[in-house]
């Protein structure tokens, strides 16, 4: 029997959090069609650091303007859209990468052996990724193909085992997560994003790169527990291939903690992206986000409304994500 959804009064925090996140999502999705009186990045030169309209100080700037004359309300809306377009995909990508890497490392450990030809292929791919001259790739591909042909011939002819090489997956994944975890994330992010402003796709990639180790470690730890469970022994005994056991049986169980962890991870990435925007690193000045709006209060310290709007939005979003994570963790426990 399926558990019935909790009534709103029983979990008011959860439902409020959900409502706030729904509002942010709706505003972000509908941003291009909302009837905003001012564009977010264009300055209104006649109204610099103007208080909100409801304080009776200005015309249609409902939440006031910042030190550069940009409309705060339009900035909040565009900031919500940026949240959806950047932090959400980044956390999705990071969770996917982390889950796959952690689950693979936890399931196979360092025991996995791959054909030598595949190892050469992997090496070739790595070198290709490192932008080596293209002829290297051709040489490696030729070597791989030749090795494959030799192996096939030897298998058929002499029925010998293929030449294999150990692939220390667990060591590689743990090494990478330790390496990335050794440097504080903000410092690493600043180092990666410093210089010319990054394109949205590049920033997304950088955020995903920084965020994948945590889900990877979590899933790996869970996988170490899962792989010793009796149902996996049974699956092996029934003769199912390892890959199928991993994909169909082990992975769904190992990924269960991610339900509760992903909202926290999203909160962390939103905070990180906002910090980057606050520092003004890695993004163009005409890109408005909640973090960059918070930064603009430094140019007009008396304009509290510039900090209040994005600050409150950021706080509520992070609290909501935390609330949801807590609820999901409780539910899973």
């Amino acid at each position: 029997m399926k558990p019935s959804p909790l009534p709103p009064l029983a979990q008011p925090g959860y439902w409020l959090a959900l409502a706030w996140l729904g509002l942010v999502a709706a505003v972000g999705l509908l941003a291009p069609w909302l009837p905003l009186p001012y564009p977010a990045a264009a300055p209104d030169l006649l109204h610099i650091a103007t208080p909100p309209a409801w304080l009776g100080a200005g015309p249609a700037h409902y939440l006031g303007t910042d030190a550069l004359g940009r409309d705060v309300l339009a900035g909040l809306v565009v900031g919500a859209r940026r949240l959806l377009a950047l932090s959400l995909p980044a956390v999705g990508l990071a969770t996917l990468l982390g889950a796959l890497a952690g689950a693979t490392a936890g399931f196979w450990g360092n025991r996995l052996r791959v054909p030598l030809a595949a190892a050469t292929g992997l090496l070739a791919a790595a070198w290709w990724g490192w932008s080596l001259p293209i002829y290297f790739i051709f040489i490696l591909l030729i070597i791989s193909t030749l090795l494959l042909i030799i192996i096939k011939w030897r298998r058929a002819a002499a029925r010998q085992a293929a030449l294999t090489v150990a692939l220390p997956l667990d060591g590689l994944v743990m090494g990478a997560t330790t390496l990335l975890g050794a440097v504080p994330r903000l410092i690493l992010l600043v180092a990666l994003a410093a210089g010319t402003p990054l394109a949205p796709a590049q920033l997304l990639g950088v955020l995903a790169l920084l965020a994948w180790p945590e889900p990877a470690r979590l899933v790996r730890a869970q996988m170490l527990r899962v792989r010793a469970l009796p149902f996996l022994e049974a699956a092996r005994a029934s003769g199912l291939p390892e890959g199928r056991i991993w994909w169909h049986h082990a992975l769904p169980h190992a990924c269960r903690p991610l339900w509760a962890f992903t909202p926290l991870s999203l909160g962390g990435l939103i905070g990180l992206e906002s910090a980057l925007a606050f520092l003004g690193i890695g993004q163009a000045p005409d890109v408005v986000s909640w973090g960059s709006m918070l930064a603009s209060v430094r140019q007009a310290p008396a304009a509290w409304w510039v900090a209040a709007g994005p600050g409150l939005a950021l706080l509520l979003t992070l609290l909501s994500l935390q609330q949801i994570a807590r609820f999901l963790a409780k539910k899973m426990a």
């Binding site: 564009p39 300055p43 030169l45 610099i48 003004g280 000045p285 430094r298 140019q299 007009a300 310290p301």
Partner: protein, 580 residues
């Protein structure tokens, strides 16, 4: 013994209960700098902080008197006498102050001046700007009868030549060239040294010695004749200058303004962020804060507590906010495109938004207060319709999707705009231009750049447009360093250069006749408005807050906006009263 104890306690109590009084004369004066000087090499001078610092360590023949906004004799005993030769040469006669000495006690002599001018022209030193700037001095004639008397033979005529001939730090010959090897080469020979030819061995050896001295970070390796020595330098944090206990100019009576050095210690606190600087001012970590942004200044002025603690100064300045085009880019090569794009700036709106309306709009590079200002030219105004018409006239066609392209060219009209990051005024100009250009279908990519790499990027021509401050002066009209084709790659950031304008610029710098100069300057302003290599937006006001405990405050429209060496702490009786 018991009474002694009680007495001591009483003194301590009285001291603790007393209200804060005037600071001691030896207390350091804390001044805000927005940037680190980066180098203290007296020949390099990459920014205003470096110029200010070098002026404390070394002296020039002439220095700016901020009281009068004019050059006054510093190492020179008096203003030089000029003698015109023909229609293109000037002989400028200088005599050095007999009292002037280096830190090692040796007198400052004419040979030091000759050595400095030759050193500037030595091939191998990376000081192309200085080399170009002082290339008009062709010869130094020493007087065998008087070691402090010399005559500079200069190309050109006019006040600019006179002023510029004395505006460089004089360096001592003996520590850098003890064998006087450079004396065998003439100044003209060094200036005309072919670039393909390797430098003379004595020059190469001197350049090696100079570079080995590492004056950029350790200026104490070279004796100076200025009033201060560098006591500490924490990069990007602070610089502390200590007044020399015995400085040669202390004996001068009366002490000229440019040779007054009252503070025992000057501490320059580097605070790039204006908000942080205001906070530091309110916490008494700063005593002088110049060039405060308009809104922060307004808030400070409105604060009762700040009124009790600080005196506020506002001056018209000679610093202009401007935008420049890279005229060597194919899209910006023709003047009509530049004129069209200049109509997308809104100088009036920007002046109101960033300076609260204070400051002066201008038609060109001269401020409206200048007697040679061409007031018959129209002020630049925001006019997108005019911009569209001018673009069409320049051959651009608007496509159905809104972008602009010239027939026969592959690239549509799209621009990159470079400016200094962290500057709210520059950011506002950039955003305004971007929004206006977007409305007429021109995409603009903003490229905010760190101050340390901005100059090199601009000099390399890595931009379509840039926003910058142009430091001016009421004392000269030498625009060659920023507009002459010979200065492309150094000071001429717009990379503009035409034979006609080059000729006009050179004539301007050498013209001595007042009436002809007026005509030339008016023609120059017309030419600049037609060619539009740079878009003059407005002249900024200088705003400054100074502690009430400081005396002898001289606020000026010339950078840095104050005379640091003239300041002194007030004694209790001379504190400036706070307004009620």
């Amino acid at each position: 013994m018991r009474y002694l104890w009680l007495g001591g306690l009483l003194v301590l109590l009285l001291n603790a209960c007393s209200t804060p009084t005037a600071k001691q004369a030896a207390s350091p004066i804390h001044i805000r700098w927005a940037h680190d000087p980066e180098t203290l090499d007296p020949l390099t001078l990459p920014n205003q902080s470096a110029i200010d610092a070098i002026n404390l360590l070394h002296l020039s023949l002439l220095q700016v008197d901020y009281q009068r906004n004019a050059y006054a004799p510093a190492l020179a005993q008096e203003l030089p006498k000029a003698q015109l030769v023909g229609d293109s040469l000037t002989l400028i006669d200088y005599r050095l102050r007999p009292a002037a000495t280096w830190d090692d006690g040796r007198p400052v002599l004419a040979t030091d001046v000759a050595f400095t001018l030759k050193l500037i022209q030595c091939p191998g030193l990376p000081i192309e700007n200085s080399r170009a700037q002082f290339s008009f001095i062709r010869q130094v004639r020493l007087d065998p009868a008087d070691p402090r008397h010399f005559v500079l033979v200069c190309r050109g005529q006019g006040t600019e030549v006179l002023n510029a001939s004395g505006d460089f730090s004089i360096l001592p010959e003996n520590p850098l060239d003890p064998a006087h090897t450079l004396r065998q080469l003439s100044l003209a020979a060094l200036q005309d040294w072919p670039t393909a030819r390797p430098p003379a061995p004595v020059v190469a050896a001197l350049v090696r010695r100079y570079q080995r001295a590492n004056l950029a970070r350790q200026p104490e390796h070279l004796p100076g004749c200025g009033p201060y020595r560098l006591a500490a330098w924490e990069t990007n944090q602070r610089l502390r200058f200590q007044r020399k206990a015995h400085w040669w100019a202390d004996t001068l009576r009366p002490a000229p303004f440019v040779l007054q050095a009252r503070p025992r210690q000057l501490v320059f606190v580097i605070l790039p962020d204006d908000g942080a600087a205001v906070l530091a001012l309110r916490r008494h970590e700063l005593d002088v804060y110049a060039q405060i942004p308009a809104r922060l200044f307004q808030q400070l002025q409105a604060s009762k507590a700040a009124q009790q603690e600080f005196v506020f100064y506002t001056n018209s300045s000679y610093t202009m906010l401007m935008a420049g085009f890279n005229t060597q880019r194919p899209a910006l090569h023709d003047r009509q495109t530049r004129q069209a794009l200049s109509r997308l700036f809104d100088p009036a709106g920007l002046l109101a938004a960033t300076q609260l309306g204070e400051g002066n709009r201008t038609v060109g590079l001269l401020p409206p207060s200048n007697p040679f200002y061409n007031d018959s030219l129209p002020l630049l105004a925001y006019a997108p319709a005019q911009a569209i018409a001018l673009l069409r006239r320049a051959g651009w066609q608007r496509w159905p999707d809104g972008h602009w392209q010239r027939p026969g060219t592959a690239a549509p009209l799209a621009l990159s705009l470079r400016y200094r990051t962290g500057d709210a005024t520059h950011a506002t100009v950039a955003l305004q231009f971007q929004a206006a250009a977007m409305q007429v279908g021109i995409p603009v990519t903003l490229v905010p750049t760190e101050n340390s790499v901005l100059t090199s990027s601009l000099q390399a021509g890595d931009f379509d447009l840039y926003i910058s401050m142009l430091k001016g002066s009421p004392m000269g009209f030498n625009f060659a360093p920023i507009l002459h084709s010979a200065a492309i790659g150094s000071g001429n950031l717009s990379r503009f250069g035409q034979p006609a304008t080059d000729q006009l610029l050179m004539t301007l710098t050498t013209e001595g006749n007042e009436r002809r100069k007026r005509l030339l300057l008016r023609r120059f302003q017309v030419m600049m408005q037609v060619e539009m290599p740079i878009v003059p937006l407005f002249f900024l006001p200088y705003r400054m807050a100074v502690s009430r405990q400081l005396r002898h405050v001289v606020a000026s429209g010339l950078k840095p906006g104050y005379a640091a060496t003239a300041l002194s702490w007030a004694t209790p009786g001379t504190l400036q009263p706070a307004p009620h």
